[in-house]
Amino acid sequence: MAALSSNLLFIAFILYLVATPFYGGAIKSKKELNENKGTNKWGVIAVALTIVGFIAQLGYFITRWIAAGHAPVSNMFEFTTFFGMALVGAFIIIYFIYRTSLLGLFTMPVALLVIAYASMFPKDISPLIPALQSYWLHIHVTTVAIGEAILAISFAAGVIYLVKAIDQTKSNKRNFWLEVVMFSLVAVLGFVVVSTVFSATGYHEKFNWTDKHGKVNVMEYTMPALTGPNEGELLTNEGFKPLVEMPAIINAKKLNTVIWSLMAGLVLYGFIRLVLRKRIAAALKPFVKNINLDFVDEISYRSVLIGFPVFTLGGLVFAMIWAQMAWSRFWGWDPKEVWALITWLFYAAFMHLRLSKGWHGEKSAWLAVIGFVIIMFNLVAVNLIIAGLHSYAGS
């Protein structure tokens, strides 16, 4: 069952990957794109592939659920994969409301990156600690992921807006920041590439190091250590000697991974620039030529409107119900909870700015981008850096 499950996930990934260029084709070959209902042949193929992929991924989800005996949303790999699936699902829904293939061209790469990123984490089926043994947890986590995925669609639409609206012929702050967004996506790809390369070569090195309490521990690296642990002593023969040593309060291993990913991202980005001979956003401009700005602006806002209640329900309401059951208090100011609150406050501010201050169009698109950054921060940084408190207090 577990093997079948991972095969289905792989199939889904490949189908999404194949679908993406078709979305590109759907746009290139179509003259009048404005708010029109018909999709051409390319678009139909693209959407069909996406739907089949989605069904395959649903198959992954169900079979893994059966294998594990609990909904597979209980570790980084499972949750992030589910988020990727929700993203595709949200896209399919919005697609059938607005019928625009262009959205697929911008959403599918993000979904692919999310799933690829997920599979860099240990994929073993893990048992649930007592606090997590609650169906409320599963309801909460899946609803959050769906809400965040719908909100992420507003990011994709926002990026389309910005690619179209920002003049790429001059250098200015706006296209600098838009390019930063593009680079961040490339850097995620960088992480995936270096992780895959080093794990394929089976790279390993071990250190003895001293933590902040003066205790000596062993730390194992799976990438050559550019940043070594505090008072680190290399135990592996022919292991890479760290270039710099970090103080004990910094997690040298995670920092090392970040540095590798950024370097790989820079190399990839440099390569892409060399091929394109212009900014990525500038290269994407022809794809968005025919889209109407008001139209993408509305898709972006509509996604927030649909996603916000779902997020509130999952990230706050269900979260509180679960916390009340598991920890006896519905709110405990745990970093994860606070970041859900921050996300929620941000989107509340977004809607007020839009409704009452008339922040439509470009401002609204930037807000959609910032919202997605917050969601990603919550998913990646809070889980990997800040958290560690979300565990059962008595153990």
Binding site: I125, P127, I129, A131, T312, S328, L345, L355, L389, G394
Partner: protein, 540 residues
């Protein structure tokens, strides 16, 4: 201040921008813009009308969405600060020690700035309170005028009002048959159609306009629920530790309830039994599967007399587990933690020469006996007992607490050979023979432990407000987000048919709908003047 009478005859409150009934522009400032600002229907809001007294000023401050958004953003940024380092409720050491020790000067600064208790700080609570006030005032400022304006609207509208709607178009030479068809289509689309002198107003989803107000009321109730917690008795949160086999009064119940802990159970996942988790368990090591206390809840049936043993009646047996609290009369008892304590230690009395045991004894660490008789002339006396042994500053053995964390003994071993006894000092992993070589020694045999379950006793009488607030909030956001308020005016003006339309959001959807409504008729689809306006500016 006087009310304003519009030329259509409707009397509007002072400060009205667009006549509530016909939409004529009453406030000249409005004239400059090409399209009408339809927010709140141009109704007379207090905040826009009065600005004299201090009360007006406070009112205007809190009713401003700009201020509201600032409050939200500041709260958001402040909240981030609190996630940089663990908050004080998540640390084990006293904060003045913890932060500096763990995070150096930065931690010290964090602590000194009070960020270690950010969410309980007066200024954070003030921010939340200000959001609450802002919610109340801004909602009151808008909801009544909006309600009146929507209620007073007439079907026939002023020319200027229609012309300056975002969607607007004119038609000539239209037959009644077409209008009839349009009416049919509108009804198919679930519009509520009103008709006056041949003019039409089709409206739907007006209730969605109340969405924001419903959700704000929900939030206000939620915040009110949070405030209730500060009232004594509304919120009980106590720790309760009960040893296995013991019974304790449940705190804050006025000694009416007692909890007996029969057994604490700690289970781990077993690699061999759970093949699915094999790999994960190999990586993670021991993973806890279950924390459970088997308890019995009792209710006191006798009067509460001091010094007298209460008479108890069994209420129920329950297995308290994480996620499965025991609940009764508004109280909940949660499995929160556990502690394992030494209960007994056992020893052999060993002849060092023959390495033979001549007898064994078990010492109850709570209540050690003075002398253990082993028969055949063997006996062990306890001369001194230190439950939580340490060497005091002067080098003398002493005990830190009465809890047997680190028991140590001074034994006197009596045997037929040494009837006057040999002295030996025994602590965990060490034996000292103060008077030289002994013939006998106390050999460690084993320990028995006893678990103590840690419970949290919680009674939260504020939950109803939290739940009600949450439900209202959800209803409100869904109402405002998944529906929108659409209006289509189809009116006879100067022998023409004018069509204008307005929605509070999702113009694209409205345009689609109008296309469907006007299908099979000679009526033209109204134009989006907003887009035209923009493309004029953009020059394409």
């Amino acid at each position: 201040m006087k009310d304003v009478k519009c030329e259509c005859g409707h009397v509007n409150p002072h400060g009205t921008v667009l006549c509530e009934a016909c939409g004529k522009i009453l406030d000249e400032r409005e004239n400059k813009d090409q399209l009408l600002d339809m927010r709140y229907e141009g109704s007379a809001r207090r905040s826009q009308t009065y600005n004299k007294t201090i009360i007006d000023k406070i009112w205007n401050f809190f009713s401003s969405v700009k201020v509201g958004v600032w409050l939200i953003i500041i709260t958001l940024l402040a909240s981030i600060l609190g996630t940089v380092l663990p908050q004080k409720m998540y640390i084990d050491l006293p904060p003045e020690v913890f932060y500096e020790q763990e995070y150096g000067w930065f931690g010290k600064l964090y602590y000194q700035l009070g960020l270690h208790d950010l969410y309980g700080s007066w200024w954070y609570l003030l921010l939340i309170a200000m959001i609450g006030i802002s919610l109340v005032i801004c909602s009151l400022d808008r909801v009544v005028p909006l309600y009146k304006a929507l209620k007073a609207q007439r079907v026939t509208r002023n020319d200027g009002f229609l012309k300056r709607q975002r969607l607007f178009g004119t038609n000539t030479g239209i037959e009644d048959k077409d209008l009839h068809l349009v009416k049919e289509h509108l009804k198919e689309k679930r519009y509520h159609v009103r008709e006056e002198n041949g003019d039409l107003l089709a409206e739907k989803g007006r209730f969605s306009r109340w969405g924001p107000y419903v959700n704000h009321v929900g939030l206000i109730i939620f915040l009110f629920g949070g405030m209730l917690r500060f009232i004594p008795g509304m919120y009980v949160n106590e720790n309760l530790w009960v040893k296995e086999g013991e019974t304790a009064a449940v705190p804050e119940t006025g000694d009416r309830f007692y909890l007996q802990n029969n057994q604490f159970i700690l289970q781990h996942y077993d690699k061999d039994q759970n093949k699915t988790f094999e790999k994960a368990l190999e990586r993670a090591g021991d993973v806890v599967k279950n924390y459970q206390s088997n308890v019995v809840l009792y209710k006191r049936v006798s009067d509460n007399l001091p010094g007298e043993k209460p008479e108890l009646k069994k209420v129920k047996e329950y297995k308290v587990r994480v996620n499965h609290p025991l609940t009764f009369e508004g109280y909940s008892i949660f499995q929160a933690s556990y502690r394992s304590e030494l209960k007994a230690m056992s020893f052999f009395l060993l002849n060092k020469n023959t390495n033979q045991s001549v007898g064994e004894l078990k010492i109850d660490l709570q209540d050690p006996k003075e002398k253990y008789d082993l028969g055949n002339g063997y006996a062990v006396k306890i001369l001194n007992y230190f439950p939580d042994f340490e060497f005091a500053k002067d080098g003398e053995p002493s005990t830190k607490t009465r809890v047997p964390n680190n028991p140590a003994f001074v034994f006197q071993m009596i045997s037929p050979e040494k009837p006057e006894g040999e002295t030996s000092f025994v602590a965990i992993k060490q034996t000292i023979e103060p008077f030289g070589d002994n013939t006998y020694k106390m050999a460690f045999k084993g320990i028995e432990t006893k678990n103590t379950s840690g419970f949290i006793v919680r009674k939260d009488s504020t939950l109803w407000a939290i739940i009600l607030g949450g439900i209202l909030f959800m209803i409100g956001v869904i109402q405002g987000a998944y529906w929108n308020h659409r209006r289509i005016w189809i009116q006879q003006k100067d022998g023409q048919i004018w069509i204008a339309a307005h929605t509070n959001k999702n113009w694209y959807g409205l345009k689609q709908e109008i296309e469907k409504v006007l299908r099979d008729t000679k009526l033209n689809i109204p134009e989006d003047q907003h887009q035209n306006e923009k493309s004029d500016k953009e020059g394409n």
